[in-house]
Symmetry: C2
DNA sequence: TCAAAAGTGTTGAGTTTACACCCATGC
DNA sequence: GCATGGGTGTAAACTCAACACTTTTGA
């Protein structure tokens, strides 16, 4: 069988982080090629003997020096034949979340040419990465309401107000504090710890922790996470 | 830039149809190659200048002579490097639904080597298509509860009992007829027509029709389709 | 007249919404 | 003592779940 196909396979990662009450995305500046100087998503070509997911993890390590907290395949972009001006490239995009510690670490070291940008102040992106990013943001928004992925964006110990803030800043909605707290606590997978935080003004606040094991058990037992807002 | 990647890009389609109160999937029998004689999903390699979705549509036309009712990208399978024994192939799988007319048409003509199999009586599949199919079935099940895709599996005019049956046979759950009907009708996107069907024994039944336009309007207005069961 | 499927309402339980005041701390 | 964010309860509206009998037709 002769197969003379000339399509290249790449992976891209949309990495979200949350800090200073804002959603951020990780971008790298292209050093060479047709998009030189432009900011783009972390990504690159897949090796012949490499799993797709392994390729994403490698690129994240190489280009940004991070390991992520959550990683899932998002979508494969390959309908626009001229996505990359050099050749036909099909890109398998992955959706990733890092928690705040990783985010800060990175912002300090400023490794490579990778930087976090708040999604409210993005530079123009190369290739079709604007489009890919918008698909990722959609996914993030919708997943927030039916999977407990918000916790993957927060540090291990967090304040209820952080969680609340994360939801309302990402979804762009008002939330009733009391109802939100009641609902989340009713699930039973948050642990109240004996630590308190005084990072904010006002009354010190309890720190909470997401008990992943407990969540998995509940899920097994037929429980469905779901958050709606008034 | 020298890029010596040797990965091939394919597409596969998981096409579901519903008839005789059972979910069916479309398979084709391999004529040549390492899986000769085995049943596999419709699929093939993508042309260099062809959009991914266009490739799926082409394969569906060529291998099975059908056009589908609903088509969306499912997942890209490319983590197992040896999915295809001949070479590294990354496959972008698409999820498709056809309505019953298309299904019957096809069953009659028996075009090519394509056949519908009830998912309860599948032959062993080639490559990793068992796995792909199971992912697709999962997707179908979950989409049924939050998107009105059941209608894409039914003929234009259908009985309430068909709809009900579709849900309970695919999801494997009992449904309360009264509550189900009440719920679906409350959405307001089903039209009661003046046609009746006598295909079943017993009292003749009204035929209904899904008003897609109406659904789109509701969706725009912030309506969310959702069906839960007792 | 019998068998088979279609059609139809009500009630109680549970969930969701709306809403406002006191608490603990730092300055 | 005041500014700041943390913490809490209740009542009304709504939605969901459970449940059984009558209707229409063909055989």
């Amino acid at each position: 069988m002769v197969l003379n196909q000339n399509i290249k396979v790449a992976v891209d990662a949309i990495v979200f982080g949350y800090s200073q009450h804002q959603l951020h995305v990780l971008l790298v500046q292209q050093k060479y090629g047709p998009m030189q100087g432009r900011w783009v998503l972390v990504g690159g070509f897949v090796h012949d003997d490499e799993a797709l997911q392994a390729a994403v993890e490698r690129e994240l390590r190489e280009e940004a020096g991070i390991t992520v907290n959550y990683l899932e395949q998002l979508y494969t972009f390959g309908d626009a034949v001229q996505r990359d001006p050099r050749m036909r490239v099909v890109s398998v995009a992955y959706f990733a979340l890092v928690n705040a510690t990783e985010l800060k670490l990175h912002a300090d070291t400023d490794a490579a040419d990778a930087r976090w940008f708040p999604i409210s102040a993005l530079p123009p992106l190369g290739y079709d990465h604007d489009h890919i990013l918008s698909v990722a943001i959609q996914r993030l928004k919708s997943k927030l309401s039916y999977q407990p992925i918000g916790f993957d964006l927060l540090p291990e110990y967090f304040l209820f107000s952080d969680l609340e803030n994360l939801y309302c800043s990402i979804l762009g909605q008002e939330i009733d504090r009391r109802n939100f707290r009641k609902k989340i606590l009713s699930f039973g997978f948050l642990e109240e710890t004996d630590r308190v935080s005084k990072k904010n003004a006002g009354r010190p606040a309890k720190l909470f922790r997401f008990n992943k094991l407990k969540y998995k058990q509940l899920e097994q037992a037929g429980f469905y996470f779901e958050i709606k807002f008034a």
